[in-house]
Every structure is written in C-alpha cells, then in structure tokens.
C-alpha cells in the first residue's frame, strides 16, 4: 500500500500528517545509563526502580508527535514493589526447579492460571502510566480474555503442531490493540490472518535459505581442508562451533527482522483511534536487520558500553518509520475518569497497582 493516509480513506475532517520525532541523544543517554547502573549496583538493585523510571521518562519525553511529547507517569516506588514481588516469584521458581523437578512442575501448574492475571495487570499498569498531551492510555482487557489468548489458544496450537500459531499471534495482537484506549476512545483493529501466515512463512524461508548457504559454505571449506591436508580436528571443532553460533544469531536476527517489519506495518495500517488518529508504519527488513545486527555487534565489541547508543538508535529508527495522521478532535479530548482523581496519587492505590516485572 503506497497510498498516503490522507487519500486512502474519506475523512470527516482534514487530518494533519506528521512523522514521529525522536530527539534522544546517545551521548546524553550514556551518562544517564551508566550513572544509574552504578547507583543500582551500589544500592544492591534498589535504585534500579528509579533508573527504570528515569530511563522511561527520557525516552517517552524525547518521543514527540506534532512537537508534543509522551509522558511516563509511574513512580519508582510502584516499580520497586513490582520488582520485589517478581524477585520472590523468580527465586521460588529457580530454587524449586533446582531442588526437585516435581516441585517445579507443581509450581508451574499453579503459576499457569495466575499468569493471565499478571499479564493484564502489567498491560493495565503500563498503559495507564503512559500519557500524551495530558491524556492517558488505558487497557480494558480482563482475566477471561487474557486466559483465552495467552494460555488457552497457544496450548491448543500445540496440538496443531503450531500450524495454527500465526492465527493465534494475530488473535493476541488483536486482543491487545482492541482493548487499548486513549482518552476513553478504544482502538479499532482489523488485521488479516493471511498477513500473519505470510510473515511467518517468509521468515521461515529466509532462515532455511541462510542454513542452506551456510551448509554449502561449510561443505566447501571441509572439502578444501581435506584436500590441502590441513585438517586439524581441534581447529575444525572450534571453527564449526563458532560458525554454528554465528549462524544461529544471524538466523534469529533475520527472522525477527522480517516478522517484526511485516507485522508492525500491517498492524499500524489496520489500526485506528476513530476520529482521533490513524497510523502508518513503513519498516523495511534490510535497514532494520542492519540496525539490529550492528547494534548487537557494537554491544559485544564494546563490552556492553554501546548499549545506550544501540537503544537510542533503535528508538530513532522506529520513530522515523512511523507516521501519524491526527484529526482535529485530538486537540480537544477530555478524559472524564482522569479528571476525577488526584494526580499526586495520595488516595490509597491498590496493593497491586504495580507491574510485576524484573525488567
């Protein structure tokens, strides 16, 4: 679809088209990241909650549509509470699975029904903590829906030898988008099952292609080695181990780049906030693959120090391929729910007004 947004659909009012702008700087974020890392280490991880909030505030604040930034509203204490719970759950699992396989299975079975609740909780929290033009996002999914899409369907897909998995992935994306609202207006999404199958097939074909090429190169190399009599078993073992490792990373990066680009473009094309905004994503596989592979290499060869640069670069790329059409109604939205509560969060927040997450 090469149509620009303003001509593709008849519109009630003239929409303003604008690219998403990202103004974060790698050098500036490097300072934030490394200082927060040190403070997190020194405080035995406690400061990591503050670090997460500051990092998100930096990235949200530097992401702008029509010169208006996003805002991240969570407080460090909320993040800290969620982390403490996540650490306890993680430690229990880790210890149980090390002590006894049986105990681990029992815990996993107990955790399975709890996981949809945690997912909904996390989506609700993160949406509510995201604001644009002082209007918040919200997530309206419930336990039953999350159980169906995150547990039931993936388990059923197992019995189709994962042939139904692309359809399940479509359902999951659809569930998440259609339950997201901005200023009380729910998103509308109309994705195709066929697009998911095509994306998965193209990604798999690309991986097969990479493997075939590598096998041919490997066979030629082995032939050359055998012919020249340079066959040293020790050296060959190391070379093959390294080659398999590299191939694994590359195949993973390639399939992820293909799937992400195709699916993101499709979802953005088919999603809108009726009367408020329409979206367009123009990701391309090769530039995105180049971005992820060079980011990874930079992180490896800088021993992790290039992480802030890689993160900024990725955010800048994703912003640069995203276009938003904003309708005039977006300038006068009023969120009733939000107006009735205090911004300082002094009224007792629920015990579980948190995101249970290690990251």
């Amino acid at each position: 679809m090469e149509n620009t947004l303003d001509t593709s659909v008849p519109q009630p009012a003239q929409a303003r088209i604008s690219k998403v702008a990202f103004s974060g700087q790698a050098s500036e974020f490097f300072g934030i990241w490394i200082v927060n890392l040190l403070l997190s280490i020194v405080t035995l991880g406690i400061y990591s909650a503050w670090a997460k909030v500051r990092t998100n505030q930096y990235f949200y604040g530097h992401t702008r549509i029509e010169n208006q930034p996003f805002r991240y509203l969570a407080t460090p204490v909320q993040i800290l509470k969620g982390r403490i719970i996540a650490v306890i759950i993680f430690a229990l699992f880790f210890i149980a699975s090390s002590l006894s396989p049986l105990l681990a299975v029992v815990l996993a079975l107990l955790f399975l029904p709890a996981s949809p609740w945690l997912i909904v909780q996390s989506l609700k929290f993160n949406m509510r903590m995201t604001s644009y033009r002082n209007v918040r996002f919200a997530f309206h999914g419930d336990y039953a829906g999350a159980f169906k899409y995150f547990v039931l369907l993936p388990v059923l897909a197992l019995f189709t030898f994962y042939l139904a998995m692309p359809w399940v992935l479509k359902k999951i994306d659809r569930y998440m988008c259609s339950n997201t609202s901005f200023g009380g207006q729910k998103m509308q999404i109309n994705t195709d099952t066929s697009s998911y199958y095509i994306a998965v097939l193209v990604a798999m074909a690309a991986v097969m292609g990479v493997i075939t090429v590598m096998i041919i190169i490997g066979a030629v190399l082995v032939g050359v080695m055998a012919a020249t009599g340079a066959a040293n078993v020790g050296v060959a073992t190391v070379l093959i181990t390294a080659a398999v490792f590299v191939m694994y990373f590359f195949a993973f990066a390639l399939s992820a780049a293909i799937y992400h680009s195709m699916i993101r473009n499709h979802i953005f094309e088919r999603t809108e906030l009726p009367g408020i905004a329409k979206f367009k994503s123009e990701m391309q596989v090769m530039p995105y693959l180049w971005l992820t592979v060079t980011n990874l290499l930079a992180i490896i060869f800088s021993l992790g120090l290039a992480y802030p640069w890689a993160k900024i670069r990725k955010a800048a790329y994703l912003a640069s391929v995203t276009t938003i059409a904003v309708y005039p109604q977006a300038d006068s939205l009023v969120d009733q729910v939000q107006q009735s509560s205090s911004a300082f969060g002094e009224e007792a927040a629920g015990l579980f007004d948190i995101d249970v997450s290690l990251a």
Partner: protein, 348 residues
Amino acid sequence: MSASPAVNGQFQHAGSSTLYRAVATFADNGQLIIRNSDNDTALTEATPADYRFGSVIPGLAVELQLRDGAIFVPDNPRFRWPQLSGTAKTAARLESHKLSILAAVVLSPLLLWWIIVDLMPMLASAAVPLVPDSVKQQMGQQTFYTLQQTALQPTELTPAQQAAVQYHWQMALQKLPLEYNSYKLHLYKSDFFGANAFALPDGTVVITDELVTLLKDKPDAILAVLLHEIGHVEGQHSVRLIAQSLGAALVFGILFGDPEGIADLLLGSGSVMLQSAFSRDMEREADKFAVEQLKALGKSPSAFADAMSALLSERSTDDQGSSTLLKYLSTHPDTRERIEQARQHDPP
C-alpha cells in the same frame, strides 16, 4: 508583586488535550499563577501544597504538576525552576557531569565483578547452613532415582573388586573428621557416564564400574576420587551452586533486564559461562579437599594426580586439548591443570 520572573510555556487542564500558550509566575508566598498568554486571562492558581515539580531529566523540560492533574511545561528544555531543591537536581547533575560519568564507567564493571566473584559466593556459603538436611535429602533422592532409571545399570564388578572399593570408602569415613554423617557409596555400571564418579547433596556417592576398572592397579587413586566426591558433599557444593547461580541470575535480571533485542541471547550465554565458572571453582575446592585428606590418611597426594592422568589418557582419544573458547564453557578445570595442582603437594 511576583518575586520570580515569568516563565513561558504551555498549559493543559487535567485529562484534557487542549493546549494553551501560558505564562507561569509565583507570588511572594509561593502562590502559583498561570495565565493564558494569548488573551491574558487566568487559567489556574495553586498554593504551594497543590503543585510540585516533575523529575529533572537531562535534555528535557521540568514540568510543573498541579494536584488536580493539570500540567505546565516550560518552552525552554534547559530551564530549571529556581524553587527546585538541590536533591531534586542531584540525579540529573550526576548523569550529565563528566567526572561522575567517568567514575561510573570505571566503577560499575569493577563492582559488578566483585559482586559476582566474591560477594555472591560469600553470601551463598553463608546461606547454605540455613538449608535443612531434609531438603538436601529430597534433592539427593530425587536425582538419584532419576539417574537410576535413566543412566545407571547394576554393577558387573566381581565381589572382590567391590569389596576393595568399599574398604577404601570405609577407611576414609572412619578415619576422617567429617561434618556430614550419612554417606552411602554405590557402584553402578554406566554407558552414559563412562569412567566417572559423582556425589549428591544427601551424601550419596556413585562410582562407575568403568572408573574402578580404569584405576584397578592404583587403589590409592580410587581413594583419591572418593575423597574428591566427599569434598563436594562436605562443601555442600550442590546447594551453593544453586544459590550462586540464583544470585547471578537476579543481578543480571535486575540490572540488564531490558536488553536490546537479541542481546538477550548474549546475556543467556553469559550466565551459562558464569555457572560453569562457579562449577570449576567448586571442582578445585574438592580437588584441594582430596589432596589434603590423602595427606591426613598418610597417602601420597600424587594418588589424585594418578587418577586424573588415567582419566586424561582414556579421554585424550576424543579430546585434542581444550581450546580457549571451550575452556570457558567447561564445568571442570583443565585436567592437566588439576594434575599440576595435585603434584605441587608432593613431598620433595
């Protein structure tokens, strides 16, 4: 009347996307007044208790938040409100000051290294005595049962060979001051493990027929192997390995929980290497234990080196010297290094 200068910016009411060009001023008593700069009408007023400042983040404007949910954002991203306290600005100052950034670049890896290499093992050792014996027994029994079902077959050694191994075992148990008291030795044939021996946390020690046969001319070497395994149990290595790996997983999860794309995989391989490193440390500890106890029993520490040499020559057919890469993935130290270590204890 206003003590502080007027600040230009944009104002929004609570939950409203409508933008107003606005000017914020403060009265002497701290009262905030925000006026619409297009038509000079009042937008809102607030007492000091009803407004506060947002986080100070390098490169971003500091917003003024009102209790009812309205916000005012200065136009100039570099503007810092004079009312901001020093502590509110501390984090941002550290994050953008060259000296603190340099200090963080140097100190972060050093501290991380110290935590993983020294602090974690220390905490793990301290935590181990808290684990009740019943848990260790459960761990041992479950693993033993699984291995019996999958990798172990009944021994095919002659009663005389079995008795010889049991004799060394009993001697070690009786003569050594061991802390743990429910040791059990089992002999099994195992195609899966080959010539090998292992210890479980409940004191169960298994030595394979293949290893006994390999060392049949060196009775002291069998004793050395058994002592090495006892060393694992005495040092409570199974439980310590779990505690250390958990600690490392948590450190990486919390500090780098949000890695960039496939760097995730990289962190995964990092933690495998780390776990192998922990395991190698414990093997060295068990080696040291075996050598010391051999001396206590009046045997030559070179018996341990003999056992390792025998294993090395048996395996050298399929192991052409370990490369540097594989060394970091190995759960055991290099065998030649272990032989060297044991020989150093030889009386001259």
